[in-house]
């Protein structure tokens, strides 16, 4: 090698090394800061800094609001350092942190996903004996395996269905459709008025799951109540039920008939709020959390939610409660982390959060504020008459990303609904077998 070339090669190698060292360096810094604050733990107020890991998509969570962190620090001296994890990596990053024992002191995550992704029983602290537990109204939304593993001041599980713009429906004299044919007729009328009937942001593969997850669950509840148990015990295959194929095809046909945005595989979920605010779209298959996001930007928006109209008189889908706080067993500051939960659970603070977020309170001495109109409607139309079914997600105990990818593949037109279910059946069994579930 000639000297010049050698210099180039060397500098390439040197810069690579420098980069990797720099990466290690920044990690270490966080570690030492945590340790040194631990050693100074002698004054009347604690000097501990708690690490709280949270997905970037949850950055508006009330549990990490500035005022809350500040008040907690003033009262106890305990600082909270936020570790914002990129949304699509949050599972992997948390799994890795837990595996290598570099654990944060608090984690915000969804309980159901913590069971499937994070090995809840092995990694997290049981909270049954915390002071706030006696005041919890609905412990189920915080519990798994018979123990309370998580904390939240709300008990309101999100509802999933069709988010729709009521004003557009009113202008066009449209009724809420309760069958697939009626739904297509509604789409046709909206399309004729120049508005895109349905927004499908299926660049984010999970968004394609709202229709099937609610419809499958409703189908099972009405026709085959043990369907998910049978599938989870390997007594039935995903491919055994032709109706599921039909449900997948329905969603695809809505796209094929031209009732959606043109570029369903390029548009992403974060565009949804803007599309509704600009009245470019009338409907979307999503959870009621989207309505809250839209109305917080523009309170004048008049939105509602109805059940996925895959068949006659469907029920609405209820998703498991998400966004709970967890304490890892290997946290270095378990006592301080528990102190944070107790602080949030204190009647005054909890009331403030519940009021601000308009939650359905989960604490006996915290009152539920008046619900927004859309929520009250869901309560009147679906919850009170008991027309609610837990979505398919609540029954699936393995990672569902491959299912989402197959749904997305369906929309490229390269596979049929039958193949979607066949592919998932193979993957599902692999995952169940690897997890060590009996029967696989």
């Amino acid at each position: 090698m000639k000297p010049k070339m050698r210099t180039i090669a060397l500098s390439v190698i040197a810069s690579t090394m420098a980069l990797s060292l720099a990466a290690c360096g920044s990690d270490n810094k966080g570690e030492t800061a945590g340790e040194s604050s631990n050693k100074n733990n002698s004054g009347s107020k604690s000097n501990v800094t708690l690490e709280l890991a949270i997905s970037k998509s949850s950055q508006d969570s009330p549990f990490i609001a500035d005022w809350l962190l500040k008040e907690f620090e003033t009262e106890t001296g305990i600082k909270i350092n936020l570790q914002l994890i990129p949304a699509e990596q949050s599972t992997t990053v948390l799994q890795t942190k837990l595996a290598v024992n570099e654990v944060p002191d608090l984690i915000q995550y969804n309980l159901a996903s913590a069971v499937t992704d994070l090995n809840l029983e092995r990694n997290f602290e049981i909270l049954d004996n915390e002071p706030w537990v006696d005041r919890i109204l609905n412990a189920d939304v915080l519990s798994a395996y018979g123990n309370i593993y998580s904390f939240h001041v709300s008990q309101d599980t999100g509802m999933q269905g069709v988010v729709y713009n009521k004003d557009i429906f009113e202008e066009l004299n449209l009724e809420i459709p309760t069958s697939y044919e009626e739904f297509l007729a509604v789409c046709e009328a909206i399309k004729a008025s120049g508005v895109t009937p349905v927004f499908m942001p299926y660049k984010d593969a999970w968004a394609a799951n709202i229709w099937p997850a609610a419809a499958f669950a409703d189908y099972a509840a009405k026709n085959d109540p043990t369907l998910f148990d049978d599938i989870n015990a390997n007594k039935k295959n995903w491919t055994d039920i032709p109706e599921l194929e039909g449900i997948l095809d329905q969603q695809y046909q809505i796209f094929k008939l031209g009732y959606t945005n043109a570029d369903v595989l390029s548009d992403s979920y974060d565009m949804a709020v803007g599309k509704f605010l600009n009245k470019e779209v009338a409907m979307m298959f999503m959870g009621d959390w989207l309505i809250q996001n839209i109305e917080s930007q523009d309170p004048e928006m008049n939105l509602g939610l109805f059940a996925i109209p895959y068949g006659e008189d469907p029920t609405i889908g209820a998703s498991p409660l998400g966004g709970q706080l967890f304490i890892p067993k290997n946290s270095k500051h378990i006592a301080e982390a528990k102190q944070y939960l107790a602080f949030i659970a204190s009647p005054e603070i909890a009331q403030k959060i519940v009021d601000e977020e308009r939650y359905v309170s989960n604490l006996s001495d915290v009152t539920t504020p008046e619900q927004p109109a859309y929520k009250q409607e869901i309560i009147d139309n679906y919850i009170t008459p008991k027309k609610v079914t837990l979505t398919m997600d609540a029954h699936t105990v393995v990672d569902q990303n491959e299912w989402y990818r197959n749904l997305q593949d369906h929309f490229t037109g390269s596979i049929t609904p039958k193949e979607v279910l066949e592919n998932w059946d193979v993957k599902f069994k692999d995952l169940m077998k690897a997890k060590g579930v009996e029967g696989f």
């Binding site: 290690c24 990672d399 997305q408 390269s414």
Partner: protein, 290 residues
């Protein structure tokens, strides 16, 4: 080589060697072991499972597709980055007034973060994006494509973006190589009546071989290990259409299947070595001394 006093003692190599061992060699060796186990997120114990992980890899059609995509990506980017890089270098080695500016312009994409690249290219490559509307205005609607969402072309699109990004880096290496070739050879060739093409094939190319070798190795290894371009532009989608080995490893880890993920990683390591090491030795022999 004449004898001279060595400037530095050999023990100075130890710190680097230790770091290399701890952060690279040791994890790689441990990785070989883990790829034969059922190491998983939800298991407390790790068991030896023989070749099971590797059997699983070759019976998974998504993984076969990922291997195919990785090869396509590697071949296309090696060819594209080197041919365009060399052409740019030759062009910008000429006496142009703007050559310093142009060099900086062509080099600049390679210092951009891949995330920035994704933010720039995602809207450009949309079905209703800039490229397609430009084609439409030129009357070439028939060439318009769903660049990132058509399963049969998405890998090619990502390869093209990758070429655009790093061609300036390859250009810089070729430029350095070109500038180290003495002008005398060209003058002598000119006197002998050699055409420009003859001087290129008989002087430039042979003397540029070290640069070509480095570039081919860098682009080939980079191509086989591709991850970030695919991850930010499509995440392996739509569906699994643009999965490559790198994103499959992430997928396996995401599913909590660490043993399998490590096995795919081991496979990647071995394939890169099997392809790269003989190639390096072969190309080394072709190099000529000036």
């Amino acid at each position: 080589m004449h004898k001279s006093k060595s400037m530095y003692p050999y023990y100075l190599v130890w710190p680097a060697l230790i770091i290399y061992f701890i952060f690279f060699a040791f994890p790689a060796l441990i990785g070989f072991y883990y790829s034969f186990t059922d190491w998983r997120l939800d298991r407390d114990t790790i068991q030896f499972v023989g070749w099971d992980n590797f059997k699983a890899i070759f019976s998974d059609k998504v993984l076969i597709l990922a291997l195919k995509n990785t090869l396509i990506f590697a071949v296309v980017t090696v060819i594209g980055k080197n041919i365009f890089g060399l052409l740019l270098a030759i062009g910008l080695n000429m006496k142009l007034k703007t050559r310093n500016v142009l060099r900086a312009v062509y080099f600049s994409p390679s210092i951009l973060s891949i995330l920035v690249i994704s933010i720039i290219f995602t809207p450009i490559l949309r079905t209703e994006g800039m490229i397609n509307s430009l084609l439409g205005k030129l009357g070439l609607e028939s060439l318009a494509q769903a660049w990132l969402t058509n399963p049969s072309i998405v890998v090619w699109t990502i390869a093209a973006v990758s070429i655009w990004q790093s061609v300036g880096f390859q250009m810089a290496i070729y430029l350095a190589g070109l500038q180290s070739i003495s002008k005398e050879y060209y003058e002598a060739a000119k006197i002998d009546g050699a055409s420009a093409w003859r001087s290129f094939t008989n002087i430039t190319l042979p003397l540029l071989l070290p640069a070509i070798n480095i570039n081919i190795m860098l682009t080939l290894i980079g191509g086989l290990k591709v991850f970030s371009e695919v991850y930010v532009l499509t995440g392996g989608g739509p569906g699994n259409a643009s999965q490559v080995v790198g994103t499959i490893i992430l997928r396996a880890f995401g599913e909590g299947n660490w043993g399998l993920g490590t096995a795919v990683n081991t496979l990647l390591f071995i394939s890169v070595s099997v392809i790269a090491v003989p190639l390096i030795m072969f190309m080394r022999r072709k190099e000529v001394a000036e």
